[in-house]
Symmetry: C7
Subunit: 98 residues, 7 copies
């Protein structure tokens, strides 16, 4: 089974489908933003952001995190039947906590 | 109940509705700026801005601060019935003091 | 009474109305620039500019300074009946001295 | 036989043709992305990224890696009958693991 | 009498009118550049350029210098009947020597 | 006989004409890229790239290298009857090895 | 007699007219580039490039150098009857050697 290992500050996110206009976490995306799901679960994370001084800074998001991300960000793929999005951590706005 | 934990220099702001053309703090947004509320209350803050030298600088705004922010900035969400905006601290112009 | 406390390198300026085509300081804004006042008094200043090395550099303008600023810069608000502009210190061109 | 030795942070990738709408790794590129293959195998890598402090950081991708890369990135060549793409490592989104 | 004290790397320049197609220094601005005067005298200079490491570097131009500056640069004012331009030192191309 | 000594990170490249749709190295430029030759031989190199810390980093390409370069890059000259292109080393994608 | 002393990384160049489609150094500018002379002699140089760390790096071109420069770069002046161009050293592509 294939899986995607993102590079540097990129993360792989599995979008979570809205049902009845809500995501499972209770986040409602307003009408203006409804074209694309923008809640998802982090499936894989890169080793970290490479800074201009050569330092690598580990990412803050972890596998399993539910996140909201900026629509229009990232590239879409389908791997083993699953729709996935690869985006930069900077396109993730917040982690959803319960 | 779900809540949003913003990353890095992002903050979650709950917009405050204007009543009779004024926000509760007495700020009037001129006609040219009336399309979107631009006063709000800070609901959550990220851990800080990541600088190019690897240092993380804590944000200046705190939970509970009333702020004015740049219209057009940020992404909107509805969480548990509350409209929220996630923006970067740099899109916050000033804290409202009394 | 509400007041605005600007963040980082932002300043709050109260525009000074021109009378008979002149500001009180005797600055005449040429016809091409007449749409917006561009002389004002500094009402509040942020704690300083945050540099990429993490250092905060205090601003050069002080409360009470009369300044000329770049038209088109900043965001307008009305607080307690006063029209105010929040701009970055870098949009202030010069301090007016007498 | 000629071969391409990429410079700095550039890599040479041999695109992998989709068959029946799938790449050999089982990655399906959604319809919106079908114009160009975006799975490939790394054929050669540069010596590393040159940072502003003068340091060279070796690349993370290695010869033989299967990767997905951002469509629209890179320049195409045909060398000894093989179609190749030269792109920056930053245009590679993820490594495909099995 | 009011005067302008420029901030940081800004300078105040008094444009010098061309007479018979020449400036007093003998500089002729070719036809394509004739719309705006682009020779002037430096009237005031800021304290220096603020670098990203926090250092302030004093400007190279001094009060009294005759300079040529890039047309389209800067903001125009009239102070005590004098037309003035506030521009960044980087918009000054050269000092005129005799 | 005149020759061009490029500055900093610039290099002088002599384009190699394609014959029968191939360059001598066997590189075929696909139809979409056929307008300009994009294989060439390095004729001269600058002393190196000047970094923001003041350090000069010698270039990786050497005189005599056969290279492929990004079409649309560089400026064309004819020196002693030879067509030459001056481009930045960063516009060189790869060195051709045999 | 007036002369121009360029600031920082700027240089003053005197364009050399082509005769019979060639510059005196034998450089032919191809038809597509014929609108403006792009060979010239360096007349004056600035004290050096100011880096972000505060260091000044002397320029590589010297007075008397024959250079080729990027057309469209720089600002034109006429000083004491001589047409001159002020440009940044980075717009100079190469020094012409014999």
């Amino acid at each position: 089974m294939a899986s995607l290992k993102p590079l540097y500050d990129r993360v792989v996110v599995k979008p979570i489908e809205e049902k009845e206009g809500k995501t499972p976490s209770g986040i409602i995306i307003p009408d203006t933003a409804k074209e694309k799901p923008s809640e998802g679960e982090v499936i894989a994370v890169g080793e970290g952001r490479l800074l201009e001084n050569g330092q690598t800074v580990p990412l803050k998001v972890k596998v399993g995190d539910k996140v909201v991300y900026s629509k229009y960000a990232g590239n879409e793929f389908v791997v083993d039947g699953e729709e996935l999005i690869v985006l930069r951590e900077d396109d993730i706005l917040a982690i959803i906590e319960k």
